[in-house]
């Protein structure tokens, strides 16, 4: 079965794939476990998995005879990571400015 390469919009446009990603957002699952949640064949689920993998939404790891699908969390957490980092960063810098200004005042 040919697997086409779809862009991100096309990938999330499909309700079954969105549902698969929702399931995977909770834990990694095998293709068999995913299939149990859908009224479609394993090859059909496998095809969706390949499409999502190709578009970078999930990764596939072979463990023994099973293929485990994992949602790639990197992109999801990026925004919050930036905000958390710079929130702390600025708070630390503003405090440092205060101690420098006060130190300067004392040494006058």
């Amino acid at each position: 079965m040919a697997v086409s390469t779809l862009d991100a919009f096309q990938v999330i446009a499909d309700p079954s794939r969105r549902q698969m990603m929702q399931l995977l957002s909770k834990k990694s699952m095998t293709i068999n476990a995913l299939t149990e949640n859908f009224e479609m064949s394993r090859p059909a689920v496998s095809k969706h998995v390949k499409i999502m993998c190709r578009a970078g939404f999930i990764s596939i790891t072979d463990i023994g005879r099973e293929r485990y699908c994992t949602l790639k969390q990197d992109g999801f957490n990026e925004l919050q990571d930036f905000i958390d980092y710079f929130d702390n960063f600025w708070a630390g810098k503003l405090k440092k400015l205060e101690s420098i200004l006060n130190h300067k005042a004392k040494s006058k």
Partner: protein, 149 residues
């Protein structure tokens, strides 16, 4: 769903004194980072620090002075990335100084944090329709904005 950071700090020193520490490169370096800042609107400059691998940032912040009102306001762009020319962080830092008794209230607003890529939308497990609607209106707003600009 843009998010921003807002931080306020009260200093005992006058706005003039605090301003110097925001606009003189060698004073700025004492508390923030080494830089080649110049208080000229449109000037492009960089802050340099150690790489931040957890955020995939190479430690160089690329800035452009957008607005300068002496002793009152200073705004610059604040961009960063892994060093491959793509800015995954594309934000704006705005400083406002207000008199506060004999001292200064310094307000920092770091804004413009937004979805770096579409995959962030996938992090939301509910409300697909509304998320996609938001994305569409965001895209429309961006388009309208560029037409107006």
């Amino acid at each position: 769903m843009q998010r921003e950071i807002k931080n306020e700090w009260i200093y005992q020193q006058s706005p003039k004194e605090v301003w110097d520490y925001l606009t003189q490169p060698e004073l700025l370096a004492l508390w923030l980072m080494p830089n080649n800042f110049m208080p000229i609107a449109g000037h492009e400059f960089q802050f340099q620090t150690k790489p931040i691998p957890s955020l995939d940032l190479d430690g160089i912040f690329h800035c452009r002075l957008l607005e300068i009102v002496p002793f009152q306001k200073l705004t610059y762009s604040w961009k960063g990335g892994s060093g491959n020319g793509v800015f995954t962080l594309d934000t704006v830092v705005a400083w406002t100084l207000e008199k506060h008794g004999k001292g200064t209230k310094l307000i920092l607003k770091h804004s413009g944090f937004k979805e770096a890529n579409l995959s962030i939308f996938m992090g939301m497990t509910d409300g697909w329709q509304s998320n996609i609607q938001k994305m569409i209106s965001h895209l429309n707003a961006t388009r309208d904005g560029s037409i107006n600009a």
